[in-house]
C-alpha cells in the first residue's frame, strides 16, 4: 500500500469520522436551528468525502455526485427546512424520549456495535477507504437513534436525512459510489421524499396545531 493510498485512507477515515461527529453533535444540541446547522455541515463534509473519493478513485462521475449532494443537502433542503421551521414555529426539542447524556452514551455504544458488526466487511475489503466503513454504519445507527428518540416531526426529518447521509457515506466508502444515474435517482427520491414529508408536516401542523408526534397516537390496535 503506497503513501498515496495511505493518505487517501487517512483522509477518508477523517472525513467519515467528522461526518459521524456531526451526527453526534446533532444529538447533543436542542434547538431545531442547531439541528439544521449540524446537518448542513455534515452534508458539506459528506460532499467533500465524495469529491475526495472521486479524486483518489479516479472516478470523475463522483464530482458530479458531490456537486449534486452539495446543492441538495447543503443548500436546498436546509433552506426548505429553515422555512418550514419558521412556518410551523420553532418548538425546541424540549424533552426528547432519551435525555442528552444518555443519548450520547447510546450513540457511543451504537458506534461500537457498528464496529462489531462490520468487521467482516473491513476484513474482506482491500479498499483504502475501508477504515471509514464502520463509521458510516455507525452514522446510520445514530440517524436511526435520532429518529427514534426525538419527538418533533421536524427533528425526525432531520434524523432521516442523517440516516440518508450515513448510507451515502457508506456508498462512497464501500463502492466509490454507485452509477451516476442511480445516485441521481436516489437524490431525486430523497428530495421528493423530503418534500412530501414537509407537506405532511404542514398537514400535521394544520390538523393538530403542533408538530409534536406525541399526539399522533389516535390510531392504535
Amino acid at each position: 500500500m503506497n503513501g498515496h493510498d495511505t493518505l487517501f485512507a487517512q483522509l477518508s477515515t477523517l472525513g467519515a469520522s467528522v461526518t459521524l461527529l456531526f451526527g453526534v453533535v446533532l444529538l447533543w444540541r436542542r434547538s431545531l436551528g442547531a439541528y439544521i446547522e449540524a446537518f448542513r455541515w455534515q452534508s458539506l463534509v459528506l460532499s467533500a468525502v465524495f469529491a475526495l473519493v472521486g479524486y483518489y478513485g479516479h472516478d470523475h462521475e463522483l464530482y458530479i455526485v458531490a456537486v449534486a449532494l452539495l446543492a441538495l443537502k447543503v443548500f436546498i433542503i436546509p433552506w426548505y427546512l429553515k422555512r418550514l421551521y419558521q412556518r410551523v414555529g420553532g418548538e425546541r426539542e424540549a424533552q426528547p424520549y432519551v435525555n442528552i447524556a444518555t443519548s450520547l452514551i447510546v450513540a457511543g455504544l451504537l458506534v461500537m456495535l457498528a464496529y462489531a458488526i462490520t468487521r467482516p466487511l473491513v476484513m474482506v475489503s482491500k479498499l483504502p477507504t475501508r477504515g471509514g466503513i464502520p463509521l458510516a454504519v455507525g452514522l446510520i445507527f445514530v440517524g436511526l437513534f435520532v429518529i427514534v428518540s426525538r419527538r418533533k416531526a421536524l427533528t425526525q426529518i432531520v434524523g432521516f436525512l442523517v440516516l440518508e447521509n450515513g448510507i451515502a457515506l457508506l456508498a462512497a466508502l464501500c463502492t466509490y459510489g454507485i452509477h451516476l444515474i442511480i445516485e441521481l435517482g436516489v437524490f431525486l427520491d430523497v428530495l421528493m421524499g423530503f418534500l412530501v414529508m414537509q407537506v405532511i408536516v404542514y398537514h400535521i401542523r394544520n390538523t393538530f396545531e403542533s408538530i409534536d408526534v406525541e399526539q399522533l397516537n389516535q390510531l392504535k390496535h
Partner: protein, 677 residues
C-alpha cells in the same frame, strides 16, 4: 356402478342448482326435494348393490383438482355409509319439502335447498373418497354447507353463535386432519388410501400414535365426543329440524366413519392403549351425554345431547373392537365393530326419526320447550306414534333395532374374559356397567320426553291448538319408523352383510354372525362356540301373539268389558288444571339429586309472604340451573388465554411512532448480530 354414481352426483348438483335458480315457492322447494330424493335413492341403490355384491369398485379418477386428482373408490364400508346417507337423505328430503314451507318469505329457501343438496353431495363423496385430498375437500365442503344450514334462521343471535362455535370446532378438527393425512402420506395428499396403508405400516410408532391422536381429535370434534361436543347442543337445536336430523343422523357419523377408516383400515389397528383411549372417551361421552340430556327441557337440545351419548356408545364398541384386535381376538373384534356399525345405522334411523318428530312438534306448537307441551298425542297421533317408536327403539327396547345392536355389543363385551391381561379385561365389565347405566337412563329420559310432550293435558295455548303435520312430513317420519322396525326385526339379514363388509379391514375375518342360529364364531383361544342366540323376529312374533291372546283370555275369564270415562282422581279436588301436572323438571328431579355431584346445580328459592302475615305466601319462586362445566372449566380458560395473548399482541400497536421505529431498529440490530454469529 359408474352410472349410478354419476346419477347420484348429478341429481344432487341439479337439486342444488335448481334451488339456487328457482328459490322460493312450492316449485323451488319441490326441485330441491326432488334432487335430494333422486340423489339419495341413487346412493341407496349404489350402496345396496355394492354391499350385496360384496365387491369394491373404483369409481372416479379425474384431474379436476389443481394440486391433485379426485379419487373415489367404493368398498364395503363406504357402501354401508352410503346406505345410511341415502336412507336418511330420502326421509329428510321428503320431510323438508313440507317443513320448509313455513320458511316462505322468512328465510332464504335458496340457501336452504342448495345447501341441503350440497351437504348430501359432499357426504356421499366423502365416504367414497379414496385419497386424502378428496376426503379433506369433501370434508370441508360438508362442514361449510352444514354451517350455512345451521345459519338458516339467522335472525336470532344464538343461531349465529352456534354457527360460529360449530365452524370453529369443526375447522380446528379439519386442521388436525390435514396434519394427520400429511403425516400419514408423507406429504403427498394425492396418494391413494392403498398407498397410505403401505406408508402407515412403515411409519414409526411415534408417528403412528401422533396420527391416531390427531385422528381422534379431528374426527372427534365432528362426532362430538366429550369434551369436543360443545357445539352440538348449540347447533342442532337451531338448525331446521330436518337438517338437525341429517346432522345428528349422518354428519356426526362421518367422525365415526373417519375413525374406523383411519384407525382400522389405514393404520390397520394399533397398540392396546388406542382401544383403551377410545373406550374411555366413549364411556365418558355416553354417560355425560345422557346425564345432560336428562336435564334438558328443550326437546331438540335433549336430542342433541343424546347424540353425544350415542356417539359414546358407538365408540365404546369400537374401542372394545380395537382392544380385541390388538390381542388378535379377531372374531370378537369383528363382533364389536359389527355391533357398532349396526348401532350407527340404527342411531341414524331413530335419531333422525326423533328429530323429525320434534320438528313436527315445533312446527305445530312453535316452541321447543317441553314445559309448554302436552296432550299432543290426541292432536297429532301419527307424529306421536312415530315418536313413540323412535323413543322405544332408542331406549334399546326389544324388539326394535336399538336392542339388536345393543345386544351384539353386550355379547362382544362379554367376550372380554378372553383377554389375557386381567387389568385390561376389567375394562369390559366396567364398560358393560356404563352401557347399562346409559341404557337405563335413556329409558328414563325418553319416558320423560314422550310423556311430557305428548301425554296428559296441554300445558299452553300453542299445545292446545296444535295440528297434525302435513303429509310429506308424516311420510318422512313413517319411512324412518318403518326402517327402525325393519332393522330391528331383520338383523339376520343385516349383520352377515356387515361381516362381509368388514372382512379384510385390519385383517378382520369374514364373521358369520347369524342371528337366527346364534352366533357361531370361529373360536380362537377358548372362545366357546354358539356364544348366544337371539332371534328378534321370534321375540316380536311372540309378543304379538301374547298381545292378541291376552284379550282373548280376558274374554274367557268373562271380564267386565264396560268402560266409563270421567275425571281423573284429584284427591277430592274437582277439576284438574295443567298446573297440577308433573313437570319435566320435577320428573328429572330424583335423578338430578342422585347425580348432583356432577351437575352442581345452583338453587335459589325465593318466597315472598303476604304483607299482613307470614302464614300467607304470595308467590314461591324456585330457580335451579345446571352449569355445563365443559364450557366453564375447559373452554372459558382457553378462550381467556387466547384473549390474553391477543391483548398482549394488541399492545404492540400502541400508536406511538417512536415505539414502532424502535421495533424496526431492534429487529435490525438483533438480526445483524445473529448474522455475525
Amino acid at each position: 356402478m359408474m352410472t349410478l354414481f354419476i346419477m347420484m352426483i348429478s341429481a344432487y348438483a341439479a337439486g342444488a342448482l335448481g334451488a339456487l335458480l328457482i328459490g322460493r315457492g312450492a316449485l323451488g322447494r319441490g326441485v330441491a326435494a326432488l334432487g335430494a330424493c333422486c340423489g339419495s335413492a341413487a346412493g341407496l341403490t349404489l350402496g345396496m348393490s355394492a354391499i350385496t355384491s360384496g365387491r369394491t369398485f373404483t369409481l372416479a379418477s379425474a384431474r379436476v383438482m389443481p394440486v391433485a386428482g379426485l379419487m373415489a373408490r367404493l368398498d364395503g364400508l363406504s357402501a354401508f355409509f352410503l346406505i345410511i346417507i341415502g336412507l336418511l337423505g330420502l326421509a329428510v328430503a321428503l320431510y323438508g319439502y313440507g317443513y320448509s314451507a313455513s320458511y316462505e318469505r322468512r328465510y332464504s329457501l335458496r340457501m336452504l335447498g342448495a345447501m341441503l343438496n350440497a351437504l348430501l353431495l359432499s357426504l356421499s363423496v366423502q365416504v367414497v373418497a379414496d385419497n386424502a385430498l378428496t376426503f379433506l375437500i369433501s370434508w370441508e365442503l360438508m362442514s361449510l354447507s352444514a354451517y350455512w344450514l345451521v345459519l338458516t334462521e339467522h335472525d336470532w343471535a344464538d343461531a349465529v353463535r352456534a354457527g360460529v362455535w360449530y365452524i370453529a370446532m369443526t375447522h380446528s378438527g379439519f386442521a388436525a386432519l390435514v396434519a394427520m393425512f400429511l403425516l400419514m402420506s408423507g406429504g403427498d395428499l394425492t396418494t391413494s388410501f392403498a398407498g397410505m396403508r403401505a406408508n402407515a405400516a412403515a411409519l414409526s410408532p411415534a408417528a403412528r400414535n401422533a396420527v391416531f391422536l390427531l385422528a381422534l381429535f379431528g374426527f372427534g370434534s365432528k362426532a362430538g365426543i366429550v369434551p369436543l361436543h360443545v357445539w352440538l347442543p348449540m347447533a342442532h337445536p337451531v338448525a331446521p329440524s330436518h337438517v338437525s336430523a341429517l346432522m345428528s343422523g349422518v354428519v356426526i357419523k362421518m367422525g365415526i366413519y373417519g375413525l374406523v377408516r383411519v384407525a382400522l383400515d389405514l393404520l390397520g389397528g394399533g397398540p392396546v392403549w388406542w382401544g383403551g383411549v377410545v373406550l374411555g372417551v366413549g364411556a365418558i361421552s355416553a354417560l355425560l351425554g345422557v346425564l345432560y340430556a336428562l336435564m334438558e327441557h328443550d326437546l331438540k337440545r335433549l336430542l342433541a345431547y343424546h347424540s353425544v351419548e350415542n356417539i359414546g356408545i358407538i365408540l365404546i364398541g369400537i374401542g372394545a373392537g380395537m382392544i380385541f384386535q390388538s390381542y388378535g381376538l379377531m372374531p370378537l373384534a369383528a363382533l364389536g365393530f359389527i355391533g357398532r356399525l349396526y348401532h350407527t345405522i340404527n342411531h341414524a334411523t331413530f335419531k333422525g326419526l326423533l328429530f323429525l318428530g320434534a320438528g313436527s312438534v315445533l312446527h305445530a306448537t312453535h316452541t321447543r320447550n317441553m314445559e309448554k307441551m302436552g296432550g299432543l298425542i290426541k292432536r297429532m297421533p301419527v307424529t306421536a306414534l312415530c315418536f313413540l317408536i323412535g323413543a322405544a327403539a332408542i331406549s334399546a327396547l326389544p324388539p326394535l333395532n336399538g336392542f339388536a345392536s345393543e345386544w351384539i355389543v353386550f355379547q362382544s363385551l362379554l367376550g372380554g374374559f378372553n383377554i389375557p391381561k386381567p387389568e385390561v379385561a376389567m375394562m369390559m365389565p366396567i364398560a358393560v356397567g356404563m352401557l347399562a347405566l346409559t341404557g337405563g337412563l335413556a329409558v328414563a329420559r325418553f319416558v320423560k320426553a314422550f310423556g311430557v310432550t305428548f301425554l296428559a293435558i296441554p300445558r299452553s295455548q300453542e299445545a292446545e291448538h296444535a295440528h297434525e303435520a302435513p303429509l310429506p312430513m308424516r311420510a318422512g317420519m313413517a319411512l324412518l319408523a318403518l326402517a327402525c322396525m325393519a332393522l330391528g326385526l331383520a338383523p339376520f339379514a343385516v349383520v352377515p352383510m356387515m361381516g362381509r363388509m368388514l372382512a379384510g379391514l385390519g385383517e378382520l375375518p369374514d364373521t358369520r354372525a347369524d342371528f337366527t342360529l346364534g352366533l357361531f364364531l370361529a373360536a380362537p383361544n377358548g372362545l366357546p362356540n354358539g356364544f348366544a342366540r337371539m332371534p328378534p323376529t321370534l321375540v316380536a312374533a311372540g309378543l304379538l301373539i301374547l298381545l292378541c291372546l291376552t284379550p282373548l283370555v280376558m274374554l274367557l275369564l268373562r271380564a267386565n268389558r264396560k268402560l266409563r270415562v270421567s275425571d281423573s282422581w284429584g284427591c277430592g279436588r274437582i277439576g284438574q288444571t295443567p298446573r297440577m301436572e308433573y313437570t319435566a323438571t320435577a320428573f328429572a328431579e330424583p335423578l338430578r339429586r342422585v347425580f348432583a355431584e356432577l351437575y352442581r346445580p345452583t338453587k335459589e328459592l325465593t318466597i315472598d309472604f303476604h304483607p299482613e302475615s307470614k302464614y300467607f305466601v304470595q308467590s314461591v319462586e324456585y330457580r335451579s340451573e345446571i352449569t355445563p362445566w365443559f364450557e366453564k372449566y375447559l373452554y372459558d380458560p382457553g378462550l381467556w388465554f387466547i384473549r390474553l395473548l391477543a391483548a398482549v399482541v394488541r399492545r404492540l400497536q400502541s400508536g406511538s411512532l417512536s415505539a414502532y421505529l424502535v421495533y424496526g431498529a431492534v429487529a435490525l440490530l438483533i438480526l445483524l448480530l445473529i448474522a455475525r454469529m
